[in-house]
């Protein structure tokens, strides 16, 4: 039984359909990230699951229960917001216990839960302070604490780290991951536009674009076998390199041809039956390019070298394409040098030029 099941859901905003028949199943204990650029509908989906938005059609199940018509407080969920949304005139303790008070939980039970959550998040010393006396990171911990005390089965996070600076973001990211591990059975649905958060936190990532799901898969799958051009482009930093070309059949099988360059594709795993003569795009990640001797694609000239410490990113180009290559930081490279690139066909991704789908 899935922890959260979205079945054929459509949401409408003032006569505009935001989704149409979207379906998604999330298993218990999973950490699922909804990833995509702004406007892709990920927050809308989250709000619909929470019950803050009505669905125009379809159903939502949480823990096997049909909650499509239930109020948010009856769905067994807890939520953490980007702007923390802490009750401004109450102190931390009151913030964390307000929901429980509304549910008429007993005083000792409230105390117990508040202390537990505060301990887990290391905010016990802040219990008597008010939100305006806390830093951004502390406020977000309190917001998470408020969600924790609800003892919910499903936790929803709406871009909780976007308001924090980079250092805090990294800290809290690890804390959230630790929290998920400690809470065992808790299912977490997390919305973000940051692919690093998605890759590091998720058991599965749901990549969305323009209110449609592009791909669902583990971080490794999404990274290694992106199902379309958009996903390939969105994930990975530095970005995947794209080279336009064609498929040609020669004696041994299919080949990728782009200008003077050829790459035999006999070892490539096709998901779809390709056809010769098809226009395609070859995608290869900067770290999957070889720059040693014997590279099958010579003639690239190095334009810019970006030393990043552990790695170095090389920008090189020929008349047609510009390629980024990631290599070890120890190598000595100078701009103007000539480079031959080697590509392993099992590491590339091929996409149909028109549809963008993976071949």
């Amino acid at each position: 039984m899935a922890a959260v099941s979205v079945r054929d859901v459509s949401v409408a905003f003032e006569a505009v359909r935001v989704f149409d028949g979207l379906s998604l199943d999330i298993e218990q204990g999973e950490f699922v990230v909804l990833l995509g650029p702004s406007g892709c509908g990920k927050s809308t989906l989250l709000n619909a699951i929470a019950g803050l938005l009505d669905v125009a059609s379809g159903q939502i199940f949480i823990g096997g229960r049909n909650v499509t018509w239930e109020e948010p407080k009856d769905r067994g969920i807890a939520m953490v917001f980007q702007s923390y949304a802490l009750y401004p005139r109450m102190n931390v303790r009151e913030n964390m216990s307000f929901g429980l008070k509304m549910a008429k939980t007993s005083r000792p039970e409230i105390e117990k839960r508040v202390h537990q959550a505060a301990g887990l998040l290391q905010i016990t010393h802040l219990l008597d302070r008010r939100p305006d006396q806390l830093s951004g990171g502390q406020r977000q911990r309190v917001a998470i604490g408020r969600a924790l005390v609800r003892d919910a089965a499903v936790f929803l996070f709406d871009e909780p780290l976007s308001n924090l600076d980079a250092k805090l973001r990294n800290e809290l990211r690890v804390e959230i991951k630790r929290l998920h591990a400690r809470l065992g059975k808790a299912t977490m649905i997390y919305v973000t536009h940051d692919q690093i958060e998605a890759m590091t936190l998720a058991d599965r990532i749901v990549v969305m674009k323009e209110q449609k799901i592009q791909q669902i898969g583990s971080p490794a799958e999404i990274y290694g076998r992106p199902s379309n051009l958009f996903v390939a482009e969105f994930i990975g930093s530095p970005q995947m390199n794209f080279i336009k070309g064609k498929l040609e059949a020669n004696g041994a099988g299919l080949e990728f041809v782009s200008g003077k360059r050829r790459l035999p594709l006999s070892r490539y795993q096709f998901t779809d039956r390709p056809s010769s003569g098809q226009e395609i795009v070859l995608g290869v990640r900067p770290e999957h390019l070889e720059t040693g001797e014997g590279g099958t694609w010579p003639g690239f000239q190095i334009d810019i070298v970006e030393p990043m410490g552990a790695d170095t990113v090389i920008w090189c180009s020929d008349e047609k394409d510009t390629i980024q290559v990631r290599t070890s930081g120890n190598r000595k490279i100078t701009p103007g040098e000539r480079l031959a690139l080697g590509i392993d066909p099992t590491q590339v991704s091929l996409f149909a030029a028109e549809s963008g789908d993976r071949l």
């Binding site: 709000n47 803050l52 949304a85």
Partner: protein
Amino acid sequence: MDTVSVPAPGFGAAISPRRRRMKTRLPAAVALFPTALIVLVVYVGCMLWTVRLSFTSSTLLPKLDWIGLAQYNRLFVNDRFVTSAENIVVFGALFIAGCLILGFLLAVFIDQNVRGEGVLRTVFLYPYAMSFIVTGVAWQWFLNPGLGLQKLVRDVGFDTFTFDWIVSQEMAIYTIVIAGIWHGAGLTMAILLAGLRGVDEDLWKAARIDGVPTWRYYLSVVLPLLRPMVVTATVLLATGVAKLYDLVVAMTLGGPGIATEVPAKFVMDHLFERNNIALGTAAATIMLITVLAVLAPWVYAKYVRPQGRRA
């Protein structure tokens, strides 16, 4: 704010920086001069002169003698003045409370995604655009026992219905309160609604997830956030209370008898009709002191006390 002083071409180092600064600021000072003059002559000078006159025995024309606090003594045994003081306190309390409560309720209810929000807002706010004379005339008309509400209800069948507050000694002041609230609640609503719109949207979402009922949300979460707006509205309303004059003149002319006398009217009557300048200015001085006494704590709280956190 820094002003950048750039020397004109060809300007040598003949003038010291300080004098140069003063020279560039001269037009600004000149531009402010008329206002400075007005502030000095009117806002300070006339006020002081009024106070000075209250210590005299002027009747029709000002006479600069000195009789100490005699006029004030007369004031406190003057029926009209005492009644006006009582009236203004009653009116002030009820008017401010009424406007705040009604304004708050209207703002909150409109904030609930109701249909026709724009129309409703227009309807609630238009009275503020009306002159107090128009307001007073219309309400006096409506509350007139022989022609207005009482007659209407009686015509419908309730023969014994009486609503003759406006001609009753004890109740007349409350008719002024009603008209006042009618005039000012819309403004209060507009101010509070602006405050409501500034509340973080996610707060409402968090409250829904916490299962907080709507009324509790507004009372415990939103209202504390609205405090600055409430203060602003209260200050505005209070200003109107002190100045209450037009409405009374139009509605009841201070009557029946002196039942709806207010200090402003007392002053005006004595200055211009009853030819008793000294008594009038004495009453005006009392008004002044009261206003200053009420203002001082607010000014203190707003401008003097906040340490560090300057708005």
